[in-house]
C-alpha cells in the first residue's frame, strides 16, 4: 500500500453534489487509505468469533462462508426481533434528507453513500427485499434489492466509515440513529468473519489482559511509576497510587490509552495528582484496566463480555463505588448499557464524594461517577486551590465528545472545570459543539493508520471549526474528555491545523492545581516552562 500523501488543500476540495447515476447501480469501490486491514485470525479466535480466515478487502473474492446468505438473513431476522430501534428505523424513514449533510464523513468525502440516510438504505434495501411484502412484490420499484456479495462488500466498506457519533439522530425528525443501524450492520459483518484488525486486536487484548493495549500488570505499574517520577520532578511531591487494593473506597477505571501515549499520559498524571491532593482512598485495577470498550464496535455480546470486568473487580475488591476517567464511547457504554448488561450493582453504595459529601443521585443505580462530575463538584465546593494563571500560555477551546454529549448529555461539567482552571477559554461555532458536536473522525475503532485519508476527511469538520477559533482568538489547545480524541485529534490537528495541541481536561486541572507542600513550579505537566519562567530558563 502506497503511503497517504495528499495535502490538506487537496483533500478539502470536496464536491457535495452527488453524481447522477443511481446509487443502487453504482458498485462499491474499495479505495486505498479509506479502510482498515482485516482482523488477525488469532484475535478472532481468542474471543470465539466465527469464520476467522485470511482475506483481503482489495481482493475480488472475500472467501465468504458457504451459506453466507442464510447467515446474514437469519442474523437480520434475529436483530429485528431483538431491537425495536432496528425494526422501527427500517420502517419509518421518509428520506427527507435532514441528516444528509450532518455526517462528518459525508462532509469530508462527498461520497453520497456516507449520507446517513443512504448508509441506512444499504441495509434497508435488503430488509425491504426480504422482510416486507411490498418489497418482495415490487422489488426495485419499492427500493428493494437482492443480497449479493457486492452488497456485503458495500456494507463492510460503509459501516466501517461510520463512527456511531449520533449527530444525524439529533436532526432526524424521528430520531433515527445511524449509530444503531451501523451497530446492526457490524453485527452482521461480524457473523461473516469480516472484522477489522484495529478493533479485533484491542478486543482480544482486553479480553485476555484487561485492556485494549494489552498492557500486562507489571507494565501498568511501571508506566504509572514513570508518571509518578515526572510528577515528582514537576511538583516535588511523590504520589503513591495503589493497584488491586482490597478495601479501598473507590475503584478508578480509565481508558488504557491514557497510560500509553502522549498527550493522554498527561491526563493520567492529572488524575494521580488530583487524587493525591485529595487524599482519596482509591485503587487502580490491572484486571479492569480498561474503561473503553472496543467490543461495543463488534457485537453487543462482546461488549458485555468485556464490560463485565468492571463490576466483577469492584465486587472482588470490595469498593463502595466506581469513578471513571475521561473517555467518550466508554461513557456511552457505562451510562446506557453497563447496568443493563451486568447490573444490578447492589453490592456497591450510592456514590458520595468523601470530600464534599455530595451524593451523586444521578448515578444511584449504576454507582459509577464521571470524573468531570466529581471534579466540578470539588471546585464548586471550594475544595481545590487553583491557580489558573499556570495555564495562561494556553488559549483553550473544548471539543465535546460524541458519546458524552449525545449519549449522556454531559455538556456543562467539563466547561465549568475548564473555566475554573484556565483564563483563556473560547467556544467553537455553535453548530459544531454540544449536541451538535462533530466527531474527531476516527471513533468506533477506526483510529488505525492505514485508513488515514478516511480519518483526515472525517476529521475535517471538527478541524475546520478549530481553525476558525485559532484564527479568531489564537486558540492553541484543544481540550476534550476522551482518550480516543486525545490520540486522534492530535493527528487531525497536525494535518489540518499544525501548532494546535490536544489535551484532556484533567491535564489543565493538574497545571492549575496548587498542591500542599509543592515546590515552586517552573514547568507544566508536559515538562515545558510555565508562563513567566521561559527567561529564567535561558539565564
Amino acid at each position: 500500500m502506497a503511503k497517504f500523501t495528499a495535502k490538506p488543500n487537496e483533500l478539502s476540495k470536496i464536491n457535495l453534489t452527488p453524481r447522477r447515476k443511481e446509487w443502487m447501480d453504482t458498485p462499491v469501490e474499495i479505495r486505498e487509505h479509506m479502510y482498515c486491514h482485516p482482523a488477525k485470525i488469532k484475535d478472532l479466535q481468542t474471543v470465539d468469533f466465527s469464520h476467522a480466515r485470511e482475506w483481503k478487502p482489495a481482493d475480488e473474492d472475500w472467501k465468504l462462508p458457504q451459506n453466507w446468505e442464510q447467515i446474514v438473513l437469519d442474523g437480520m431476522q434475529a436483530l429485528l426481533k431483538k431491537y425495536r430501534s432496528f425494526q422501527v428505523f427500517m420502517d419509518i424513514c421518509v428520506r427527507c434528507g435532514a441528516c444528509a449533510d450532518k455526517c462528518h464523513f459525508f462532509i469530508g468525502t462527498g461520497d453520497p453513500k456516507n449520507m446517513p440516510v443512504l448508509r441506512a438504505e444499504l441495509l434497508r434495501s435488503v430488509y425491504r427485499g426480504n422482510f416486507t411484502l411490498a418489497g418482495k412484490i415490487l422489488k426495485k420499484i419499492n427500493g428493494a434489492r437482492t443480497l449479493t456479495p457486492e452488497v456485503i462488500k458495500e456494507w463492510w466498506y460503509y459501516f466501517y466509515q461510520c463512527t456511531e457519533c449520533r449527530r444525524c439522530s439529533v436532526f432526524c425528525p424521528y430520531g433515527i440513529d445511524q449509530a444503531e443501524i451501523t451497530m446492526m450492520g457490524r453485527e452482521l459483518t461480524n457473523l461473516l468473519g469480516l472484522q477489522i484488525g484495529w478493533i479485533a486486536g484491542p478486543v482480544a487484548a482486553c479480553y485476555m489482559k484487561g485492556n485494549h493495549l494489552g498492557l500486562e500488570p507489571h507494565t501498568i505499574t511501571s508506566s504509572v511509576e514513570l508518571f509518578v517520577d515526572d510528577i515528582e520532578s514537576i511538583t516535588g511531591i511523590r504520589v503513591e497510587p495503589t493497584f488491586n487494593r482490597k478495601g479501598a473506597e473507590i475503584l478508578f477505571v480509565t481508558p488504557s490509552g491514557d497510560l500509553f501515549a502522549n498527550p493522554g499520559t498527561y491526563t493520567a498524571m492529572g488524575y494521580l495528582m488530583l487524587f493525591h491532593e485529595l487524599g482519596l482512598d482509591y485503587t487502580w485495577s490491572t484486571y479492569a484496566s480498561e474503561g473503553g470498550n472496543f467490543g461495543f464496535f463488534t457485537t453487543n455480546e462482546m461488549a458485555k463480555r468485556l464490560n463485565a470486568k468492571i463490576y466483577a473487580e469492584a465486587k472482588r475488591l470490595g469498593v463502595k463505588w466506581i469513578l471513571g476517567g475521561e473517555c467518550g464511547h466508554m461513557w456511552r457504554v457505562l451510562h446506557q448499557y453497563m447496568d443493563t448488561w451486568n447490573g444490578p450493582a447492589d453490592f456497591l453504595e450510592v456514590p458520595r464524594s468523601p470530600l464534599t459529601g455530595t451524593v451523586f443521585d444521578n448515578a444511584k443505580a449504576t454507582r459509577m461517577v464521571h470524573i468531570a462530575e466529581f471534579t466540578a463538584d470539588l471546585i464548586r465546593n471550594g475544595k481545590l486551590q487553583l491557580d489558573p494563571g499556570r495555564n495562561d500560555h494556553l488559549k483553550v477551546t473544548f471539543h465535546d465528545s460524541c458519546n458524552t454529549s449525545r449519549g449522556m448529555g454531559m455538556l456543562e461539567e467539563p466547561r465549568y472545570i475548564i473555566r475554573n482552571v484556565c483564563n483563556h477559554f473560547y467556544e467553537m461555532p455553535e453548530d459544531t459543539i454540544r449536541e451538535k458536536t462533530f466527531c474527531c473522525g476516527s471513533g468506533t475503532g477506526l483510529n488505525a493508520s492505514e485508513n488515514m485519508e478516511l480519518r483526515m476527511r472525517g476529521g475535517f469538520p471538527r478541524a475546520n471549526a478549530v481553525k476558525y477559533v485559532r484564527e479568531k482568538y489564537g486558540v492553541n489547545m484543544l481540550a476534550n474528555i476522551c482518550a480516543i480524541d486525545r490520540a486522534t485529534l492530535s493527528a487531525s490537528m497536525d494535518y489540518w491545523n499544525p501548532g494546535v495541541q490536544v489535551c484532556g481536561a484533567h491535564e489543565l486541572v493538574a497545571n492549575a492545581l496548587v498542591m500542599k507542600g509543592e515546590k515552586e513550579r517552573t514547568q507544566d505537566i508536559r515538562l515545558e516552562p510555565l508562563p513567566g519562567e521561559e527567561e529564567t530558563e535561558n539565564v
Binding site: 431483538k82 439522530s169 443505580a365 449536541e435
Partner: protein, 331 residues
C-alpha cells in the same frame, strides 16, 4: 423513472376510477366497497404494524440526548431535550410530534472559499413546509367530519370558521386548501431540485406526494369550481358511517376520483413509509427517559456470557504481579 412510475401510477388510478364510474357504472364499488375495504386495511394494517414494532423489545435505554443531563444540583438541566422524567419525555415528544422540533434545528452545511471554510446556516424551509403540510392535512381531515355527522359538531365548525377567516369568495376560501397545495408542491420540487435529496429519493417517496396532490386537487376542484352536489356527498358519507350505504345519483365522477385516491392512500398507508405517523411515537431515541444511571433498565433477552475471570487472569500473570508488588489472591 423514479418520478415517472409513481406519477403514471396515480394517473392510471384516476383513469381507472373515471372509466369505472362513467363507463361501467361501478359507483357501488368505488363509493362503498373500496372505501370500506381501504379503511379496514388501514386499521388492521396499522394495528399489525404497531404490534410488530411493539413485539421487538427495547433492550437498552438509548435516548439521543440533545441538552444538559441531570447531574449536580447547581448545573441547569435541559429537562426537555434531555429528559430525566416522564413529564420531560412527554414534553419532548409533544414538541417533536406537534412542532417538528428536530427539523427546526436543521442547518445547511456549505463548503466555501475553495474548501477553506465550512459554513453552517439555518435552513428552516423543510421544517416550515413539513409543518404546513401536516397541519393543513389534519385540519382538512377534521373539516371533513361535517360530512359524517348529522349535526356538525362545534369544534369542526370552529375550525372551519378559523380556516375561512379571510371571508373570500363563495364558497368561502379555506386557507388550508391553498397551504396544502403549496406545501406538497414545495416538497415535490425540493425532492427534484436538491441534488442530495433527489439522489436518495425512491419511487415510494414520490408516490404519496402525487397521490396527495391528486386528492387535494380534486377536492379543490369540487369545492370551488365544479361545485359538487354536497347533499349527495353527505348522504353517501352518512350511509357509510351508519353501515347503511346508499349511492345517490349525480355526485359526479370527480368525487369518485377523490374518494378512490383517498381509499388508495388509506390502504397504502400501513405498507409504506407513511407509518412514520405511528412510528415516531415508538422511536427509542426520542421516547425514553435519560436516567440510565439512576434506574436500572432491564433487557428481556439479557443472557449470561463467557468472561475471562479474575482467577484466570491471575493464573496468567501471578508471577509478574507478585514481582510488581501487586496483591494476589493465591500465593
Amino acid at each position: 423513472m423514479k418520478i415517472l412510475i409513481p406519477f403514471l401510477t396515480v394517473i392510471a388510478l384516476i383513469l381507472l376510477v373515471a372509466a369505472g364510474v362513467k363507463a361501467a357504472g361501478l359507483e357501488l364499488l368505488f363509493g362503498v366497497l373500496i372505501p370500506y375495504a381501504a379503511v379496514a386495511v388501514f386499521a388492521v394494517g396499522i394495528v399489525l404494524r404497531v404490534v410488530k414494532w411493539a413485539r421487538s423489545p427495547v433492550p437498552f435505554r438509548i435516548p439521543t440526548t440533545c441538552g444538559q443531563q441531570k447531574s449536580l444540583p447547581w448545573i441547569r438541566q435541559n429537562k426537555i431535550e434531555n429528559p430525566s422524567s416522564t413529564l420531560g419525555v412527554i414534553a419532548r415528544m409533544a414538541l417533536e410530534v406537534l412542532f417538528f422540533r428536530s427539523l427546526f434545528r436543521n442547518v445547511k452545511t456549505e463548503l466555501r472559499n475553495d474548501g477553506d471554510r465550512l459554513a453552517y446556516g439555518s435552513d428552516k424551509w423543510l421544517w416550515l413546509a413539513g409543518l404546513a403540510f401536516h397541519w393543513s392535512f389534519l385540519i382538512i381531515l377534521v373539516r371533513h367530519f361535517r360530512f359524517f355527522a348529522a349535526h356538525v359538531p362545534f369544534p369542526v365548525r370552529m375550525i372551519e370558521g378559523l380556516d375561512s377567516f379571510l371571508q373570500i369568495g363563495a364558497p368561502l376560501l379555506y386557507l388550508t386548501d391553498l397551504i396544502i397545495l403549496g406545501a406538497v408542491t414545495y416538497l415535490f420540487l425540493r425532492r427534484v431540485a436538491l441534488p442530495m435529496v433527489r439522489y436518495i429519493s425512491l419511487p415510494a417517496d414520490y408516490f404519496p406526494l402525487f397521490l396527495i396532490l391528486g386528492i387535494a386537487g380534486t377536492g379543490v376542484l369540487m369545492r370551488y369550481f365544479t361545485k359538487v352536489d354536497v347533499t349527495g356527498v353527505k348522504q353517501l358519507a352518512m350511509g357509510l358511517v351508519s353501515f347503511t350505504p346508499v349511492v345517490p345519483e349525480g355526485i359526479g365522477t370527480l368525487f369518485y376520483v377523490h374518494l378512490f385516491l383517498v381509499s388508495v392512500l388509506f390502504a397504502y398507508f400501513p405498507f409504506s413509509k407513511l407509518v412514520h405517523m405511528a412510528g415516531v411515537f415508538l422511536s427509542p431515541t426520542r421516547n425514553m427517559v435519560n436516567n440510565s444511571r439512576m434506574v436500572r433498565h432491564v433487557n428481556p433477552w439479557n443472557y449470561p456470557v463467557t468472561v475471562h475471570t479474575y482467577e484466570e487472569y491471575e493464573d496468567d500473570f501471578r508471577e509478574k504481579m507478585k514481582m510488581a508488588g501487586i496483591p494476589v489472591e493465591k500465593e
